[in-house]
C-alpha cells in the first residue's frame, strides 16, 4: 500500500519535472552562456529519479502482492515464484510502459552528461525533442494506462500471470528490447536537433554513431531473446513465425542496420546527410508504429497484450504528431549542406553501403507492407486475408543472394574508388573455395532447389571472405569482420536447419514406441509432480539410436493453478550438431498422448551466430576509426 502510493506520487512528480524542463531549457537556450546550466541537469536527473522510484514502487507492490493495485491484481498471484513476481512488473501493458518511460528518462540524462563536446544549442534541442516524447508517454501512462489504480475492497488473491510468460528469457527480453527502441528515440531527437541547429557534420556523425551502435546491440539482442523464448516456450520447435509482433521488432532493426552502415559514410565522406536523417527518423517512427500495432490490438497475434481501442487512438495520434513534426522540421530546416553533388564511384565502399541500404530498405518494405496490408485491405474493401511465411519467403529469399554477395565484396573495397584490376586474387580464391564446399555439401544432402543452392553458395562465400579478412587483411576492422561472419553463420545455420530438420508426429500410449529414421523412441512411463504454482505430468521417453545409446527426454505438461492453463513444455537435448526436441500434448479423452519428435540440426548455431553478430557491434565501441 505504501509502496503503491510512493510509486503513484513519484510518477506525478516525475511528470511535473518533465514539464518544468521545457521553460528552463528554453531560457538556457537563449542566454549567452556556452555551457548548459546545471539546473537543466538536475531537473533531468530528478525526472529520471522519480520515475525510477515510481517503477521501484510498482516492483515492490508486485513483490508484496498488493492486490489492491489493479495491475498487480491482474498479473500476479501469491504462489508465483519471486523471480516471476518481479518480471511480472513489465510483463503487462501498464508496467511495460512505465519501463519505457524509465529508460526514456535515463537515456536523455545520459545523453546530457555524455555530450559535452557538442554545441550547446544542439544539446538543448535534443533534450526538447526528447521531452516531447517523454511527455507524450507520461500523458499516455497517466491517462489511459495508469499502473497505479487502487481499488477497494482489496482482493485476497490475484489473477496470476499467463504461464507462457513465466520464463527466464522472457523476463529479460522486454527490458533489453526497450533499450533498443528507446535508444532509437535519442537518435531521432538528436538528428532533428542536428537539422535545426545545422550541426550535421563529421563530428556529429562520430558522436551519434555511439548511440546507433548501442541501440543496435540492444535491439538485436532483444530480438534474439524473444526468438529463443518462442523456441523453448511456444512449443513446436519454430523460432520465427513472421507473426506481426515479431515483424514489428524486425522493421526498426532493418532500418537501424541501414543507418549503422550509412553513418559510416557520413563520418568518412560527409555525404548522404539527408538519407541519414531520414533513416534516423524512420527508425524511431517504426518503433512507435510497432508499439501502436501491438498495443492497440489492431492485429491478431499470438503475443497479445490486453488491448483497448482508447489506447490505440492515443498512440496513433501521438505517432502522427511526431511524424508531422519531423516532416515539417526536415523540410523547413534541412538544406543539403554540401551543395556540390558528389559522384559516387560504383566500385567503392560507399557504393556497397548504398547497396546494403537499398536491400535493407527493400526487406523493410516487404515486412512493413506484409504486416499492414491486411489492415488496409480490410478497411478499404472489407476483405480479410492473411499474410504469412510463404509471402515473406517468396519476396525475400531471392533478394538475399545479391545482398550477401555485396556484403562479401563491400568491405574489401576502398573508400572513394577501387581499381578493378587491383581486386585481390584472394577474393576470387575465396569464391572458388566456397564453390567447392557448397558443391560437396549439396552432393551429400541432395537437391534442395535452385535458389537454396545458390544461397548456400553465396553464404559460404561471405563466410570464407570474412575468415580470410580476419587472417589476411591489412587493416582489420574487427567489428565488421565479426558481425559479417556472424551474419553468414546465422544464414547458414538457418538454411541447413530448415533443410535438414526432420520430425514425426504420432499418437502414443504409455509403453508404446515408434521408430524414426534409425532411432527408436520409447514412451516408458508418466509421473505427476506437484510444484508451487502448477502440477505437471512428466513423460519419460527414451531414445535409442543404432548403436544402442540411450538418451532420456522428459517433456512436461503443466497445469497452472492461476490462471488455469495447460502448457506443454518441450524437452530439448542440445548438442553442437543438433537439437533433439520432444514435446507431448494431451489428447481429449486422456488415453493417449500426441507426441512430436524433431531432430533439428545446428539449432544452437543460430543463437551462437546472433551472439557473434552482437559481439561485432560491441567491438565497434572500442575500436579506433580505421584507415583506408
Amino acid at each position: 500500500m505504501l509502496a503503491h502510493q510512493i510509486g503513484y506520487y513519484s510518477l506525478i512528480l516525475g511528470f511535473f519535472f518533465s514539464i518544468l524542463i521545457i521553460p528552463v531549457s528554453i531560457k538556457n537556450f537563449n542566454n549567452k552562456n556556452k555551457v548548459i546550466d546545471n539546473k537543466v541537469f538536475s531537473i533531468s536527473f530528478f525526472q529520471f529519479f522519480f520515475v525510477l522510484v515510481s517503477f521501484s514502487g510498482l516492483i515492490l507492490s508486485f513483490v508484496n502482492s498488493d492486490f489492491g493495485n489493479e495491475t498487480v491484481f491482474n498479473n500476479s498471484h501469491t504462489t508465483k515464484p519471486l523471480f516471476y513476481k518481479i518480471s511480472g512488473t513489465w510483463g503487462n501493458h501498464e508496467g511495460s510502459l512505465l519501463l519505457w518511460l524509465l529508460v526514456l528518462t535515463l537515456f536523455i540524462f545520459i545523453f546530457l552528461i555524455k555530450s559535452n563536446s557538442q554545441p550547446k544549442k544542439y544539446r538543448i534541442l535534443t533534450l526538447l525533442f526528447q521531452q516531447v516524447i517523454i511527455i507524450g508517454f507520461f500523458l499516455f501512462l497517466l491517462k489511459t494506462s495508469n499502473p497505479f489504480n487502487y481499488f477497494f475492497p482489496v482482493p485476497k488473491e490475484g489473477l496470476g500471470l499467463n504461464p507462457i510468460l513465466q520464463d527466464p528469457a522472457l523476463a529479460i527480453h522486454p527490458p533489453i528490447l526497450y533499450l533498443g527502441y528507446v535508444g532509437s528515440s535519442i537518435i531521432f531527437s538528436a538528428s532533428l536537433a542536428a537539422v535545426v541547429a545545422k550541426h550535421i557534420s563529421i563530428v556529429w556523425a562520430k558522436h551519434i554513431k555511439l548511440w546507433i551502435f548501442v541501440s543496435w546491440i540492444f535491439l538485436t539482442f532483444g530480438i534474439m531473446l524473444g526468438s529463443i523464448w518462442a523456441y523453448y516456450e511456444l512449443g513446436w520447435g519454430g523460432f520465427w513465425f513472421w507473426d506481426p509482433v515479431e515483424n514489428v521488432s524486425l522493421m526498426p532493426w532493418f532500418c537501424l542496420t541501414a543507418l549503422l552502415h550509412c553513418i559510416l559514410v557520413l563520418e568518412k565522406r560527409s555525404i548522404l546527410s539527408s538519407w541519414t536523417i531520414i533513416l534516423s527518423i524512420a527508425t524511431f517512427m517504426l518503433s512507435m508504429s510497432g508499439t501502436f500495432l501491438v498495443r492497440s490490438g489492431i492485429l491478431n497475434s499470438v503475443h497479445t497484450f490486453a488491448n483497448d481501442p482508447e489506447r490505440g487512438i492515443f498512440i496513433l495520434i501521438f505517432l502522427f504528431i511526431l511524424i508531422l513534426l519531423s516532416l515539417v522540421i526536415f523540410f523547413v530546416f534541412h538544406k543539403e549542406n554540401d551543395q556540390k553533388i558528389v559522384k559516387i564511384n560504383w566500385l567503392s565502399k560507399e557504393a556497397s553501403i548504398l547497396f546494403n541500404n537499398w536491400f535493407l530498405m527493400y526487406f523493410l518494405s516487404v515486412v512493413l507492407i506484409g504486416t499492414v496490408y491486411p489492415i488496409f485491405l480490410e478497411v478499404l474493401s472489407s476483405k480479410k486475408i492473411s499474410v504469412g511465411p510463404p509471402f515473406y519467403y517468396k519476396l525475400m529469399i531471392p533478394f538475399l543472394i545479391p545482398f550477401l554477395f555485396f556484403m562479401s565484396i563491400g568491405p574489401n573495397l576502398n573508400w572513394i574508388k577501387s581499381e578493378f584490376k587491383k581486386i585481390k586474387i584472394q577474393i576470387v580464391l575465396s569464391f572458388a573455395v566456397s564453390l567447392l564446399i557448397s558443391f560437396i555439401i549439396l552432393n551429400q544432402i541432395g537437391f534442395v532447389g535452385l535458389i537454396n543452392s545458390i544461397l548456400i553458395l553465396v553464404t559460404f562465400y561471405l563466410f570464407f571472405i570474412t575468415i580470410k579478412d580476419f587472417f589476411l587483411k591489412k587493416y582489420k576492422n574487427y567489428s565488421q569482420i565479426f558481425s559479417h561472419f556472424g551474419f553468414s553463420l546465422l544464414i547458414l545455420s538457418i538454411l541447413f536447419n530448415s533443410i535438414l530438420s526432420s520430425e514425426k508426429t504420432i499418437n502414443l500410449k504409455v509403453g508404446e514406441e515408434f521408430s524414426f529414421r534409425d532411432e527408436t523412441v520409447i514412451f516408458e512411463s508418466i509421473e505427476s509432480v506437484k510444484n508451487k504454482n502448477y502440477k505437471s505430468i512428466v513423460g519419460n521417453f527414451k531414445i535409442k539410436d543404432k548403436k544402442n545409446n540411450f538418451l532420456q527426454l522428459k517433456p512436461e505438461l503443466r497445469i497452472y493453478n492461476q490462471p488455469v492453463i495447460i502448457t506443454s513444455e518441450a524437452d530439448i537435448k542440445t548438442t553442437l550438431y543438433y537439437d533433439k526436441f520432444l514435446v507431448m500434448n494431451l489428447v481429449k479423452d486422456y488415453e493417449y498422448f500426441n507426441v512430436r519428435y524433431q531432430v533439428k540440426p545446428f539449432m544452437i548455431w543460430i543463437w551462437i551466430a546472433t551472439v557473434i553478430l552482437v559481439i561485432g557491434g560491441f567491438l565497434s565501441l572500442f575500436q579506433r576509426p580505421y584507415e583506408k
Binding site: L234, G235, W236, G238, F241, D243, N300, S301, V302, H303, T304, K340, I341, V342, K343, I344, N345, W346, A351, L354, F355, W358, M361, Y362, S365, I369, Y373, L377, S381, K383, K384, I385, S386, V387, G388, P389, P390, F391, L395, F399, V428, F431, L435, S438, F439, L442, N443, G446, F447, V448, L450, S453, L457, S502, E503, K504, S568, N585, K588, N594
Partner: protein, 123 residues
C-alpha cells in the same frame, strides 16, 4: 571459367532426388499445415496449434492427400470452406496485386535513385 563451373554445379544439383515416399508425405503434410491459419487460435498456424479445429484440419489434410489431391487442391478446398483468410499465402489477384507488386516497385525506385548517384556528371 567461373561462370562455367557455376553452370556445371547447377546441372549436377538438378540430378538429385532421394527422399522416400513416406517421409515425403509427412513433409508435404507439415508444409500444408504450416501454411494454413488456425481459426481458433488465430495467431497461429494449424501446425503450431493443438486446438480441436487444428487437429481436424490436420486429419482432413491427411485424408485429402490419401484421396490423391495435391498441395494446391487442398489449399483450394480449405479456402472454399473457410475463405481466403485461412491461407498464409495470399493469392495474386485484383485485391492483392499491390501487396505483391509494391515492394518490388519500391526496390526498382530505390535502384533508380542509387543509379543516379553513380551517373551524376562531374562538375
Amino acid at each position: 571459367m567461373k561462370l562455367l563451373s557455376f553452370l556445371l554445379i547447377i546441372l549436377i544439383i538438378f540430378n538429385f532426388t532421394n527422399l522416400n515416399s513416406e517421409e515425403n508425405n509427412d513433409k508435404i503434410k507439415n508444409k500444408i499445415s504450416k501454411n494454413i491459419r488456425c481459426l481458433i487460435c488465430q495467431g497461429q498456424s494449424v501446425y503450431d496449434s493443438e486446438s480441436d479445429f487444428a487437429v481436424s484440419i490436420k486429419l482432413i489434410i491427411d485424408k485429402k492427400l490419401d484421396e490423391g489431391l495435391n498441395e494446391n487442391e487442398i489449399y483450394d478446398f480449405l479456402k472454399k470452406q473457410y475463405g481466403e483468410w485461412i491461407s498464409y499465402d495470399p493469392e495474386f489477384n485484383k485485391k492483392t496485386f499491390i501487396l505483391w507488386i509494391l515492394p518490388i516497385l519500391l526496390f526498382f525506385i530505390g535502384g533508380a535513385i542509387i543509379l543516379r548517384k553513380f551517373l551524376v556528371k562531374k562538375l
